[in-house]
């Protein structure tokens, strides 16, 4: 029995290790080759760069021939501000929906989460007209507003489900203590929802940071390019310069990789905890 279990556990590890290699190999290949000379990229793509084959020319041309620092700050601003708005406004709406009974509450509750099932992209045609009419074309504000609208439904859904499962007693005792409804939200509810903030943040952040559709359509200008669009355009121009292409890809991967290594534990705990409720 124990013998059998040991064999099956070895089998499981073999499968999981093989899949790990499949998941990591392409990324490793890109990063390793981005640090090599052109000859080495083609001559020996599978070796780690040594003194002879090392070359950072690709990175040099990425940093001098493009505005990657600008793209990064654009992406950070768009993702950061959208995320802050989604979390704050989403938690406020979810609090109202889970805490108070008022006429039309069920209707508004359903209305606000419709967007989970109907992707906002389907409204692109009219959305572009609206953004142009508002004078917001080629601005980061346009992206922030659209991403906030896109992220709110899932945020409201997760927050509401969570808040409904939280006991009312804490809030009611705060009420007896004479706290205003606003102070109850900021001083009682906000600390309460902290465990699901990671879940909501992940669900909202990944699609915003990685989106190609809306930057391409709403803000394609040089000044407002996000990393995703910037990489896409940059690679389109430099298909011959492999060193630069590999470096651009690495520059796009590395920050995500670093962030993930720091936050992966909270992130994954958040995802699994969130899904458990559903």
């Amino acid at each position: 029995m124990i013998m059998k279990e040991r064999i099956s556990s070895a089998g499981i590890h073999a499968v999981l290790l093989a899949y790990s290699a499949l998941a990591l190999f392409p990324l490793a290949l890109i990063v390793i080759n981005s640090l090599k000379s052109k000859r080495a990229i083609f001559g020996s793509p599978l070796t780690i760069p040594d003194a002879e084959s090392f070359s950072a020319k690709g990175y040099a041309s990425v940093l001098t021939n493009s505005d990657f620092p600008l793209y990064f700050s654009n992406s950070m601003i768009v993702t950061g501000v959208s995320l802050a708005l989604i979390l704050l406004l989403g938690a406020m709406a979810a609090h109202a929906l889970s805490e108070y009974r008022f006429p039309g509450d069920t209707f508004i509750g359903i209305y606000l989460i419709l967007g989970i099932m109907v992707p906002i992209r389907l409204g692109t045609v009219a959305l572009l007209e609206l953004i142009v009419d508002m004078g917001l074309a080629n601005t980061l504000t346009a992206l922030i507003l659209v991403y906030t609208a896109q992220g709110l439904p899932i945020a409201i859904f997760i927050f509401t489900e969570f808040l409904r499962s939280v006991s009312r007693e804490i809030k009611d005792s705060a009420r007896i203590d004479g706290l205003s409804e606003y102070r109850i939200f900021f001083e009682v509810v906000v600390p309460l929802v902290r465990p699901v903030i990671a879940t909501v943040a992940v669900f909202s952040m990944i699609p915003i940071w990685n989106d190609l559709w809306f930057p391409l359509i709403l803000s394609p200008g040089e000044e407002t390019r996000t990393v995703t669009l910037g990489v896409q355009q940059f690679i389109g121009q430099y298909t011959v310069n492999w060193g630069a292409v590999l470096a651009a890809l690495s520059v796009a991967i590395l920050p995500v990789l670093v962030m993930y290594m720091i936050f992966s534990k909270q992130l994954i705990r958040g995802i699994t905890a969130g899904a458990v409720k559903g």
């Binding site: 499981i12 890109i30 708005l85 959305l127 890809l249």
Partner: protein, 319 residues
């Protein structure tokens, strides 16, 4: 879903007598406003625009003429059915390959005695976090005959003669793009399955084990039926993702024309071309709105099937 909040509460009737509780409005208004203006209104307005067309320089109501054109004019009908067919194929391939792999990985990860589960989980989810653009280019380079990494690898395992420029061939381009998409996104269904499997009560499994069931049949007979709702959820998420999000990957790898010769064209790339135009063809706002609206109805059918068919049956089954 907890129903305790809905239970009659003496305080509710008390509070209802107070005239207007402004704070409710303050909490709800900002989210509702942004969501209505930038999500609901554009979708509704796009549906409306699909009923208009420019005639002698003015926006004119034409009823369902755009839809009729889409279905009858060979130029539009061919593109529509090609994109639709490719989307359906993309969906089926994800259901048949991605979700079973995700379930298998999740089942292995949820073995209680497994060491290093957290590390594996972290690795498997990593590609999901990357930008589709980046993933698309990475695989384009790896599969490129120019670079030669893949042919070299295939020579090494003795299958060198099977190498083909898969992304460039009409017959294999769509399947190759699908496999790239699966490589990237398998982490999401895996996490959902994993969370659901962890939720299966320990006592149920213990009872089955005492009854003499093997690990294999515990999985098929106990765990799988218990996580059926998650299976339904993954199904509908796959459906929606395939009809909308597939644009990013295909546009990055194959461009707006979704080549070779439209073999990877999906509704997203078709919408993009129709709306913005490409090469000689001019963009058409109204036909674009028509494509978007058809996409809307396709998704509605899927969501409706899920909510009224799959989910209801599953609830009856599990309760």
């Amino acid at each position: 879903m907890s129903t305790s909040a809905k239970a009659p509460d003496p305080e509710v009737s008390l509070r209802r007598r107070t005239p207007i509780r402004w704070y409710i409005l303050v909490f709800l208004a900002p989210a509702t406003l942004i969501y209505t203006v930038f999500a609901i209104y554009p979708i509704a307005e796009s549906l409306r625009l699909s009923l208009f067309q420019v005639e002698s320089g003015e926006r004119t109501y034409v009823g369902f003429a755009n839809y009729a054109r889409m279905m009858s004019e060979p130029y539009w009908a061919e593109q529509f059915w090609n994109a639709f067919k490719n989307n359906v194929l993309l969906f089926l391939l994800h259901m048949l390959i991605q979700n079973p792999i995700a379930l298998a990985l999740a089942a292995m990860l949820s073995v209680p005695t497994l060491k290093g589960a957290a590390t594996y989980r972290t690795i498997f989810f990593l590609p999901t976090l990357l930008s589709v653009v980046v993933v698309g280019f990475i695989w384009q380079l790896i599969l490129s005959p120019l670079w030669g990494v893949t042919p070299a690898f295939m020579n090494f395992i003795g299958a060198g003669s099977f190498f083909k420029p898969w992304l460039g061939l009409e017959t294999s381009a769509l399947v190759t793009v699908t496999l790239i998409s699966i490589w990237q996104y398998v982490g999401i269904p895996m996490m959902l399955f994993y969370a659901a499997l962890l939720n299966v009560p320990e006592e149920t499994i213990e009872a089955a084990r005492i009854d003499g069931l093997s690990g294999w049949s515990i999985f098929w007979k106990i765990k799988l039926p218990l996580i059926l709702p998650t299976l339904g959820l993954v199904g509908i998420l796959t459906y929606i993702g395939n009809f909308t999000a597939s644009f990013d990957l295909i546009y990055s790898i194959q461009g707006g024309l979704a080549g070779p010769d439209g073999s990877t064209d999906v509704m997203g790339t078709f919408l993009f071309r129709t709306f913005f135009g490409f090469q000689a063809q001019l963009g058409d706002v109204y036909m674009g709105a028509t494509v978007a609206s058809m996409l809307f109805f396709i998704i509605l059918v899927g969501v409706g099937t899920y909510l009224f068919g799959v989910q209801r049956r599953l609830q009856r089954f599990t309760s």
